[in-house]
């Protein structure tokens, strides 16, 4: 840029008529468009603006011949929230994937450490926003362990009942979004019919459709009411049939089966090494379910199976969900038959100050093991509140699973892993 001459500065009145300055000339190239491409390319390439920090990062951000980066997300139709992927492509084949997290980070753990024990419950609700009760459950479980509270049996049954309802609604939504990511428009709307019915009956019970804030330390907030029970009975009379008929649209669809079979195969050893839990682990042949492995609540009294499959591919992960819906319907049936009478809340002081100590509690959510580790220092706020989220560990397998497949399979795999970004980013 040549130094600007004072004489050539335009007067104010003629500013509008003055021709714009000629573009900067590039000595290195004849065609200015090449340079433009390079400039804009540098702007839009997802290359970090800092020198690479680790060996893996350096390797990832080095392009070999014929490769390109594709920035998928955080606003993309099928990254389930605000997940951002930097995909390294060779043609349409995925060479490497770098998930970029943190777009939804709110520091919930720290917020919880600054709230008292009662307020933690509604702080953790939005983390698992598809099935919020499963995030409340481990929190109240760990607090109850800290305080040695005996929860009334009716409250435990209500927790299992509502939890299994939400598990069904979450799995049904999973099926719908899975199909949507594969290009099927209709299953998502059929899914929402069932989910809406479940959510409405829970709203009759808890007052909220999404973030319920229903579990309490030592019980639940409010007993079962008439509207909930009538809606539940109505729905249960047709649930099994509806679920089967919705599943038929995909189960026997040749295109769906061919797109999911042998895509993103997660073998048993890798699944255990990554710490994958939930349906994704059981689809790889490991019959691990917190409800059976580390029983909590009244699950030991209930009769249900733990479906497993050996394939470990995206189709198996889908079919496991369908099987789990059937098992959940069985559990709800038993809950309704075995529901005892009695109070739904243990009597507790208005202000909770547990003894100093530590407690770990975990439940089996729709996506895997949701755990909470609480350290109490004797005050009315948790000293440390650590949330273990299964979606994060499930999503960590994505680069290994997607590498070597096509770009379209990346979306299949994300959908089959079923991440919820609220819990991942916390």
């Amino acid at each position: 840029m040549p130094p600007r001459q004072p004489a050539s500065r335009p007067s104010k009145s003629r500013a509008g008529k003055r021709a714009p300055e000629p573009p900067q000339q590039y000595a290195s190239t004849d065609d200015p468009r090449v340079m433009l491409d390079r400039q804009i390319g540098a702007l839009f390439e997802p290359i970090p603006p800092y020198p690479t920090q680790t060996e893996r990062e350096g390797e990832f951000y080095t392009l070999r011949d014929g490769e390109m980066f594709l920035n998928v997300g955080p606003h993309h139709p099928s990254t389930h929230g605000v997940l951002r992927l930097v995909v390294k492509l060779s043609g349409e084949q995925v060479v490497d994937v770098d998930p970029v997290l943190g777009y939804l980070h709110r520091g919930v753990e720290k917020i919880c450490e600054n709230s008292d024990y009662y307020h933690v419950i509604d702080q953790v609700d939005p983390l698992e926003y598809v099935s919020a009760l499963f995030q409340e459950w481990p929190a109240v479980l760990s607090f109850e362990k800290l305080m040695d509270v005996q929860v009334p049996r009716r409250a435990e049954y209500i927790r299992v009942l509502t939890g299994e309802l939400l598990r069904i609604s979450s799995h049904i939504l999973y099926v719908g979004f899975y199909a949507l990511d594969l290009g099927g428009l209709t299953p998502i709307l059929y899914s929402f019919i069932e989910r809406d019915e479940i959510v409405e009956m829970l709203a009759a019970l808890t007052g909220a459709r999404m973030l319920f804030n229903y579990f309490r330390i030592g019980g639940v907030n409010g007993d079962l009411n008439h509207e909930f029970m009538s809606r539940l009975g109505d729905w249960m009379s047709r649930a099994a049939k509806e679920v089967e008929s919705s599943a038929t649209l995909l189960n026997e669809n040749e295109i769906f089966v061919r797109r999911t079979r042998d895509v993103g195969v997660l073998d048993r050893a890798a699944a255990l090494r990554y710490g994958v839990t939930g349906g994704n682990l059981r689809a790889s042949g490991v019959p691990f379910d917190v409800r059976r492995a580390h029983p909590y609540s009244v699950y030991p009294e209930l009769d249900f199976n733990i479906p497993t499959r050996d394939e470990g591919d995206s189709l198996a992960r889908y079919l496991i969900r369908i099987d789990e819906i059937r098992e959940s319907i069985k559990i709800i049936d038993q809950c309704l038959h075995n529901m005892p009478d009695g109070p739904v809340m243990a009597s507790l002081p208005r202000l909770i100050r547990p003894r100093p100590g530590r407690a770990w509690a975990a439940v089996e959510g729709p996506r895997g093991m949701l755990g909470v580790y609480t350290i109490s220092d004797g005050s009315d706020q948790p000293f440390r509140f650590r949330i273990h989220d299964p979606s994060l560990l499930n999503l960590e397998t994505l680069p290994a699973l997607a590498t070597g497949h096509l770009l379209a399979d990346t979306m299949t795999i994300i959908a089959s892993l079923d991440p919820v970004m609220g819990g991942i980013d916390k």
Binding site: G16, L36, D37, I40, M68, L70, N71, H76, P77, S78, E92, A179, L180, D181, L182, G183, G184, L185, T186, L189, Y190, I193, L249, L250, N253, I255, F256, R258, R259, L406, L407, A408, D409, M411
Partner: protein, 470 residues
């Protein structure tokens, strides 16, 4: 200082305003227009002027002009047909968009559009207007010329294929003797537009979409064309009109019964050719956002959108023409009726007055009285209005029925549209039902299954034609 009196016009003010307008016009108005808007701003007054001059010229030089047009009748026919087809595409696209919105909504157990117009029927028109009024945006780094031309190429490729589709006996743009060849040549141009859009958008999603469309459409062009060769062999011609005539008679003369394998191949390949689910790889929204159309907005996107639906119509029309007898009736139509006894111009004043009075007064009143008798408490005015509406419907229905009975081309148009829209609804149905295939499965299917099958079909058909000497 003198102020302008109220009687005298404020000349100085007017001049100042004019000067101010002339000064600010380039910056305030012209500078804000986009390139297409500038072109339109120049062309629209020119076109209006030309139209006025033409009308005056026709009145002034009527005789010579008529002679000139009569001497160049094929040229005139071509111009008229081209204009008519270009004008036909827009309402067709509107109807198809509304149909898809409504049918998919029903299949999804939704209501669909129901706010604009009766049953939401004006929804697609409103969509079109919305697209027209949107900002004409081009991303930084895009190659503006190609970026602007791409939708035009795609749209024109779609429109020009309509020229050889026989809608009814006599209702065909140009009855080319190489009609089918022309159809595939023009249809193949679509991919050029998509590739241009994908390349010029300066977006990797667009690029992937453009390359996918190139791979897909070129791959499926081959089985599509080969599957049709059997039909050409049977009909002995490539003229679309004569292919239709070769299937006249009953439904069992349709080529779908003589070429069932070709029909299956054709249908699959045509779905891919029209970029419809399950082969809508080029705009797979869950993978590559919107494919080649990612960076498009405003009317440039509108052209792509219209072209897609026009393509659906064209592919359905081609399926109906080649395999389902085009405009011929599915059974031998015995009830032709002659309207020769009806001479509206020589009827005289009395019968005309009777007809007009009956349609305008008597029939609405009779129907209105019926409405008042059997309806749920309508007032007289409401009943009259309803009666008039019923009469209108009845008259339109009667006229259509009379036309259907009396004129070949009305019958032909009815059957053609009926068959075409059956396929259109089938495409919509597939979109509501099926997920999308993967790009490698798509290509493998074309080259490993469809191409050999179409070759086998061609071989068998050719052998049969030679052996049976037909």
């Amino acid at each position: 200082m003198t102020s302008a009196s109220p009687r005298r016009p404020d000349v100085r003010g007017l001049i100042n305003a004019s000067i101010r307008f002339a000064k600010t016009f380039p910056r305030e108005f012209w500078g804000r227009l986009s390139v297409p808007e500038r072109v339109a701003f120049l062309l629209v007054p020119l076109a209006m002027g030309a139209a006025i001059v033409t009308v005056i010229a026709i009145f002034w030089l009527g005789g010579p002009v008529v002679d000139f047009l009569g001497a160049n009748l094929p040229l005139v026919r071509f111009a008229v047909a081209g204009t008519a087809i270009l004008l036909l595409t827009v309402p067709t696209a509107f109807v198809l968009i509304y149909l898809e919105l409504k049918v998919i909504a029903r299949m999804n157990l939704r209501v669909g559009p129901n706010r604009v117009g009766p049953w939401g029927a004006a929804m697609s028109v409103i969509h079109g207007l919305k697209v027209l009024t949107k900002e004409d945006f081009a991303p930084t780094g895009a190659d503006i010329t190609i970026f602007t031309l791409a939708p035009v190429v795609t749209y024109m490729a779609s429109v020009m294929t309509l020229l050889v589709i026989p809608f009814a006996p006599g209702l065909i743009g140009q009855d080319l003797n190489v009609g089918l060849l022309y159809f595939f040549a023009m249809g193949g141009l679509t991919v050029v537009g998509l590739l241009m859009a994908g390349w010029s958008s300066f977006n990797k999603y667009s690029l992937l979409g453009g390359l996918r469309s190139a791979a897909q459409i070129i791959s499926y062009e081959i089985p599509l064309t080969l599957s049709v060769v059997g039909v050409i062999l049977l009909a002995g011609t490539m003229s679309m009109n004569r292919i239709v005539l070769a299937q006249s008679g009953s439904a069992f003369d349709w080529f779908v019964f003589k070429q069932p394998l070709a029909w299956i191949i054709f249908f699959i390949a045509a779905t891919a050719e029209a970029n419809r689910t399950p082969f809508d790889m080029t705009e797979a929204d869950s993978e590559i956002v919107a494919g080649f159309a990612t960076e498009y907005s405003g009317m440039r996107f509108g052209f792509f959108f219209f072209a897609e639906y026009v393509n659906v119509f064209i592919v359905s029309a081609l399926a109906a023409t080649l395999f389902f007898g085009g405009w011929t009736a599915p059974f031998n139509w015995p009830w032709t009726y002659n309207l020769n006894w009806f001479h509206p111009l020589e009827m005289g004043f009395g019968p005309w007055l009777a007809i007009v009075a009956f349609v305008l007064v008597v029939a609405p009143q009779i129907l209105g009285i019926l409405v008042m008798l059997f309806g749920r408490g309508w007032t007289y005015v409401q009943a009259s209005v309803l009666g008039a509406l019923f009469t209108l419907v009845a008259v339109v229905g009667l006229v259509a029925l009379a036309g259907f009975i009396a004129f070949d081309w009305v019958q032909g148009l009815f059957w053609f549209m009926f068959k075409t829209y059956v396929f259109v609804v089938t495409f919509v149905w597939m979109r509501a039902t099926l997920p999308r295939v993967r790009v490698d499965q798509l290509m493998g299917f074309a080259w490993k299954w469809l191409l050999p099958a179409s070759l086998v079909n061609l071989f068998v058909t050719a052998t049969a034609v030679v052996l049976l000497n037909r």
